[in-house]
């Protein structure tokens, strides 16, 4: 990065944050601090919901998933449109009618205080941990590649988001997210255009898809019924539906985004905006990764994308073995490139036999390429177990730094930071609100002025920000970053969703039955997660179904007298 890139990075991030703080100055009552001015339109809500969900991990790691595994991850989002429709039609009108600040407040209305606390507690635990990952994930990749200090990267980006979230509240979060997502889309589109322009002459877009398809990178939809497969149409439609229903419908970091809408109509349209654009956005990001894969078949990539890990070990003990593997990798890649050029010529000449032969040769060479890369990873991890297990997270940033012009590098790095800040801000805002409304105001101090609760909310938001920064500073994550976040969510989300579905649809179930049913369901999910090798998306379904089933059984055992106090009266 040169001074132009740094100017774009620092100027954009500080400029957006300063504008948000200035625009939202003077918000002193609890309602406007936690729910905004009440004038937010659908586009701002839609972009804010999208920005909260799509963190830096989405933009940094997902192209790497496309590069390594192809388009299959898009199935994860197949259930999202249906979930968003259910939320817009059922959840949202009830939240707005009861004028709640948090989703868990509704559980208090419908059941009892302990169930409200359970919902809020599950959210605080899983989102508190997730917030650490949100800040750690981009910092580890960017600091490694850029040569920045990891702790400085985490602290600087963390403190900036804490500053404007604490000072500006809900409206500052929505406002910054709107501009940040603009920067993100501009950056991703620019990367896509440059990538298309840099593909070899004569290689059309359909050639690229055919080439990627030959290496199983265009398998977007998998109808397999094998439960071991992580992404199939069934896990996406069912597990993805439950994950999205839980995340968008009951996670306060999302609920807070659309509760700030000027009306029910604006909030609904904001959700429908996401229902329409969620699948194409993820497809586009994965396709970017697939095209980077095609690009690197003709342009030699590094044997290991986490170059600093390779450089360090090459200079400290494993150098001989690593260089031998690199030589093997380079030789195999050169052979593969030659075979692919032959394939392209045969394809354009319409010579099916030559095309098939060249493709077979390229596939064999590609196996050698992948074997050398996998062995390099093993050597690096054996030398230093702290080396990130998944090299895919470094694919996109390596492409950006090696092949994009200055200015665009700055724009893309700004986009990653903007994505990190936008999702982080949504999480902190929600963590602060839930701690204030569901814990502090509900248990610790019931009667106090608005100014007192606003001050408390600011302190709690800052505290959660510091917890997230501390967690990020001491975290040592091993698996692919985006999957780590999704897995963490899936362990808790199913049960939380079960609580809400019982509240909305099973009117006869009371607080005591649902409370113990939820605890039993969470214990079951923990036990199954440690014992079964199934896709993590299924835990959303299992947790939710178990919570509902246990609640029904317990209610039958307890009898009608075990109903929660507000059960009959609630929606």
């Amino acid at each position: 990065m040169n001074w132009i890139d740094y100017l774009i990075l620092v100027g954009s991030l500080l400029g957006i944050a300063a504008y948000a703080i200035w625009s939202t100055r003077g918000r002193h009552d609890l309602r406007s601090y936690l729910k905004g001015s009440g004038e937010t339109k659908w586009l701002t809500i839609g972009l804010s919901v999208m920005a909260t969900q799509a963190s830096a991990i989405t933009f940094l790691s997902t192209p790497g998933q496309g590069y390594e595994s192809g388009l299959g991850f898009v199935q994860n989002y197949f259930g999202a449109p249906v979930a968003l429709i259910i939320i817009a039609a059922v959840f949202l009108p009830i939240y707005r009618r009861l004028k709640v600040y948090t989703a868990y407040e509704y559980l208090g209305h419908r059941f009892d205080p302990k169930t409200r606390l359970l919902g809020a507690g599950l959210f605080l635990v899983q989102r508190g941990l997730g917030a650490g990952i949100t800040i750690y994930a981009p910092a580890i990749v960017l600091s490694t590649v850029m040569g920045w200090r990891l702790d400085v990267t985490i602290v600087c980006s963390g403190l900036l988001v804490v500053l404007y979230t604490v000072l500006g509240g809900c409206d500052a979060v929505s406002l910054t997210q709107k501009y940040q997502i603009g920067v993100i889309f501009a950056g991703m589109l620019a990367a896509f255009i440059v990538l298309l322009a840099r593909l070899p002459a004569g290689l059309t877009f359909t050639d690229s898809l055919a080439l990627a398809g030959g290496f199983h990178r265009v398998n977007a939809v998998d109808f397999s019924l094998n439960p071991d497969r992580r992404y199939t149409i069934w896990t996406g439609m069912l597990g993805g539906l439950f994950l999205a229903l839980s995340y968008f419908g009951t996670d306060q970091s999302q609920v807070q985004r659309y509760l700030c809408g000027a009306s029910l109509r604006e909030s609904r349209l904001g959700l429908m905006f996401n229902a329409v654009f969620k699948i194409p956005m993820q497809f586009f990001i994965l396709l970017l990764g697939v095209l980077i894969f095609v690009f690197y078949q003709f342009e030699r990539p590094p044997v290991y994308f986490n170059r600093s890990a390779w450089d360090y070990q090459a200079a400290h003990g494993s150098g001989g073995r690593l260089r031998a593997l690199e030589a093997d990798f380079n030789e195999a890649h050169a052979a593969e490139r030659t075979d692919l050029r032959s394939w392209l010529e045969a394809r354009h000449a319409g010579n099916a036999a030559a095309e098939s032969a060249a493709r077979g040769a390229a596939a064999a060479a590609h196996e050698r390429v992948e074997a050398a890369r996998a062995e390099t990873g093993k050597v690096l991890r054996a030398a230093n177990p702290r080396t990130t297990a998944n090299d895919d997270d470094y694919v996109f940033i390596t492409f950006i730094l090696d092949h994009l012009p200055h200015g665009l590098i700055g724009l893309l790095v700004t986009a990653f930071f903007a994505a990190a800040l936008s999702s982080k801000a949504g999480e902190l805002n929600a963590l602060g609100s839930t701690t204030t409304v569901d814990i502090y105001r509900h248990i610790v101090k019931r009667e106090a002025s608005d100014a007192h609760y606003v001050a408390a909310s600011k302190w709690f938001t800052a505290l959660w920000g510091l917890v997230a920064i501390a967690f990020a500073l001491f975290a040592n994550l091993a698996e692919n970053l985006i999957q780590a976040v999704n897995i963490l969510g899936s362990i808790f989300y199913g049960v939380v969703l079960g609580l809400f579905l019982v509240a909305f649809f099973l009117r006869r179930i009371g607080g005591t039955a649902v409370f113990w049913g939820a605890l039993a369901a969470q214990a079951l999910v923990f036990a199954l997660y440690s014992a079964l090798p199934i896709s993590y998306l299924w835990y959303n379904v299992i947790g939710c179904a178990a919570c509902m089933a246990f609640s029904i059984i317990l209610q039958a055992v307890i009898g009608p007298g075990g109903k929660g106090p507000a059960a009959a009266a609630a929606a």
């Binding site: 449109p81 398809g213 977007a220 939809v221 029910l264 109509r265 349209l269 497809f283």
Partner: protein
């Protein structure tokens, strides 16, 4: 549950009820799944 009058109108041309909006969104989702399935079949 009754909705306020201004919330019944979607404000979208040609889509006057929320039910229609939801069906259109479902249609777009189905179209994407069909498109991605076709892409998979075509290039695998």
């Amino acid at each position: 549950m009754k909705e306020p009058p201004d919330d019944k109108e979607t404000g979208l041309p040609g889509l006057r009820s929320w039910g229609r909006v939801y069906w259109v969104v479902l249609g777009i989702m189905a179209a994407w799944i069909v498109l991605l399935t076709a892409l998979t079949r075509l290039y695998s």
